[in-house]
């Protein structure tokens, strides 16, 4: 007599109930439905009311203004921009500036954060106290104050362009920023980049091969001499055959400022410095908590295998700590991105400054512009979260759970 496997009970209804707030029966469902309906009604009312009022006051509405000429200039732009471009262009200029300062800020904040956390956990008394002092000092001072400190106290103290600090007569540091020679592409540029790409791909392949060998047969292959040879040799070879990839435009003082060369404006430096040091203090605490959450038996086990402290941290402790670190770390990344809107205080042309600031007051279309700006920040945050979730998913998968 065959035993019929019992069908599992349908999961649909309980799942639905849970999704709707966990109240049993239909009363919960009805409540939820009412709530959603009320929410929809309120949003409709807000939109309809705003439209009616705007019309009654004859305030221009809609997105037609985006095609109009902006008519103002911006100090830093990653894409070609002039005052005769439309407001859409201004939007992208601001957005790219925000993304630039956020990305570089996140990179340095993570780097400094990890170093400070490791320093704080170090057995070295002085190092751990200095790291602790850093965290307590930086995280307890308001961010705006720190941005103004870097901008008005540190960078503004640099000499004016005529007395700028020069290095090899090609790098100039002054209160107008850092001016560096600007690379200009030559005919040899494309082969050079191609050679470099090949070298990078080959290095990665080599590294993976060596790793597999190590894990499978325990054979240790020294990769770095080959990698170095590839990364330097191939581009060098290309330069020898096809000529120099770039020539440099050397900046020179002309009139009030430097002409030629590329310039890093002090607003950008001040904002990046303030954002990364500030966020690093929080990241340091998160990393420290993550490392401490790993059982110390793991550390001891690593040591008893004969691994050095650094290797134990890198190979055993931090991979496990990452699971704890990642969610709050994502928060910090989001905070940094949003905090970059304080840029307006020091005149860095970020999205809020040029779009929700200048563009808003020139067109007066507050609802549209604030709406777009909020939508963009939301989008940036969601994308950041998604990337971090993906990373977290990969970590937990690679650790088998």
């Amino acid at each position: 007599m065959a035993i019929e496997p019992r069908k599992p009970p349908s999961q649909l209804l309980p799942k639905l109930q849970r999704a709707l707030g966990g109240r049993a029966g239909w009363s919960g469902f009805v409540l939820q439905l009412l709530f959603v309906a009320a929410l929809a009604w309120i949003s409709y009312e807000i939109v309809a009311n705003a439209r009616a009022n705007l019309q009654a006051q004859r305030i221009t509405a809609g997105f037609g203004f985006l095609a109009n000429n902006a008519g103002f200039d911006v100090s830093q732009s990653l894409i070609p921009y002039s005052g005769s471009d439309p407001y859409t262009r201004v939007f992208f200029v601001g957005l790219l500036n925000t993304l630039l300062v956020s990305a570089i800020g996140i990179f340095f904040a993570t780097l400094i954060g990890f170093l400070v956390a490791l320093g704080r956990l170090s057995p070295n008394w002085l190092l751990s106290r200095i790291s602790g002092g850093y965290v307590e000092l930086i995280r307890n001072l308001p961010l705006l104050f720190q941005i103004l400190f870097w901008y008005l106290a540190v960078l503004a103290a640099l000499p004016n362009p005529r007395q700028s600090i020069s290095i090899f007569d090609s790098f100039f540091l002054s209160n107008r920023g850092l001016v560096i020679p600007k690379p200009i592409g030559q005919p040899g540029f494309e082969p050079f980049v191609f050679a470099l790409l090949i070298a990078i791909v080959a290095t990665i392949a080599l590294w993976r091969y060596a790793r597999r060998q190590l894990f499978q047969s325990g054979k240790f292959i020294k990769v770095w001499p080959y990698a170095l040879g590839l990364l330097i040799g191939l581009p060098l070879l290309s330069a020898l055959i096809f000529g120099a990839p770039v020539s440099f435009e050397i900046p020179a003082l002309k009139g009030f400022n430097f002409a030629g060369g590329s310039r890093v404006i002090p607003e950008f430096v001040a904002l990046t410095l303030a954002l990364s040091t500030y966020t690093a203090a929080f990241i340091a605490e998160i990393v420290r908590a993550g490392i401490l959450s790993v059982h110390k038996g793991q550390m001891e086990a690593g040591s008893s295998l004969g691994l050095q402290r650094g290797s134990v941290l890198r190979l055993i402790v931090i991979p496990q700590a990452m699971r704890v670190i990642l969610p709050p770390l994502t928060n910090q990344y989001l905070n940094l991105t949003k905090n970059s809107s304080l840029a307006v205080a020091i005149g860095y042309p970020d999205l809020v400054s040029v779009f929700a600031g200048t563009t808003l007051s020139q067109t007066g279309q507050a609802i549209e512009i604030i709406g777009i700006t909020m939508g963009v920040y939301l989008l940036i945050s969601l994308v950041t979260s998604a990337i971090m979730s993906f990373y977290g998913w990969r970590i937990s998968r690679s650790m088998g759970g």
């Binding site: 009022n53 008519g71 005052g83 205080a345 005149g347 007051s361 007066g364 609802i367």
Partner: protein, 338 residues
Amino acid sequence: MKRVSLVVTLALAAGLSAEAASAQTLKTVKDRGMLSCGVSQGLPGFSTPDDKGNWTGLDVDICRAIAAAIFNDATKIKFVPLSAKDRFTALQSGEIDVLSRNTTWTLSRDTSLGANFTGVTYYDGQGFLVKKSLKVNSALELNSASVCVQTGTTTEQNLADYFKGNNMKYEVIAFGTADETVKAYESGRCDVFTSDVSQLYAERLKLATPADHVVLPEVISKEPLGPMVRHGDDQWFDIVKWTLYAMVGAEELGMTQKNVDEVAKSDKPEVKRAVGTDGNLGEQLGLTKDWLVRIVKAVGNYGESFERNVGSGSKLGIARGLNQLWSKGGIQYAPPIR
């Protein structure tokens, strides 16, 4: 600042302005017992608070004159300090009844913001402030300079036009508030600070050594500054408009804060009409017959207010110039009060 404009925007979106937008501003102000007036965050001569929190300035006097005409009390005002970029939103949302904040009258502002300019309180133009040590004598020598400017102003666009028109390169650094802009200029981040000339004189006073800085002779734009009110309330528009004309008219009639009671007794028909002993002009505006007397008693005539705040009686020491009466070589002119 972002938060302010956000709150204001949401208020606007939520339709909290429905009441304020209707044609009842005078009633709203009377019921509230207070005029809500949008001013700058501190611009000497135009609107600035002293150490006791009392606001003074040419723009402030307009607010005081309106309050005096309505309440016969020039202190019944709530001053709302606004940055350049938040000012229009505050007016649109009904947070303020009148915007009196050195705002340049342009066609697009007059048409697209849902607000109207009521007149010109000060004829200004844009200029440049530079350090004397740079030895610059003309704005045309400013090629490649770094220029500090306050964001959200007509200044930013005039600047772009001027440098482009003269084939000069420049770098612009735009700050949220006037104070931040001046601080950056003073720290040496910029070679030039550009704004309306009156504002350059005013901000120069805040610098450590004002004498080291000079305003260049070029005036590169027309900047007629005036108060704004919302669309849709013609009575309120008239009141604000005629408050300024009352001040200019009083100067034309030779009425001052001191002699107003004397002059009011005069038999001259135009004086009798103005002070309300003949006819009911004030009532036609929705005010009282003695509205003009109230205004002059509170803030004086236009000339007095000018000299006290920005002219010879002030630290700014700006000459009347275009702001002199039409009969004395300027262009300030009031339509007949009759």
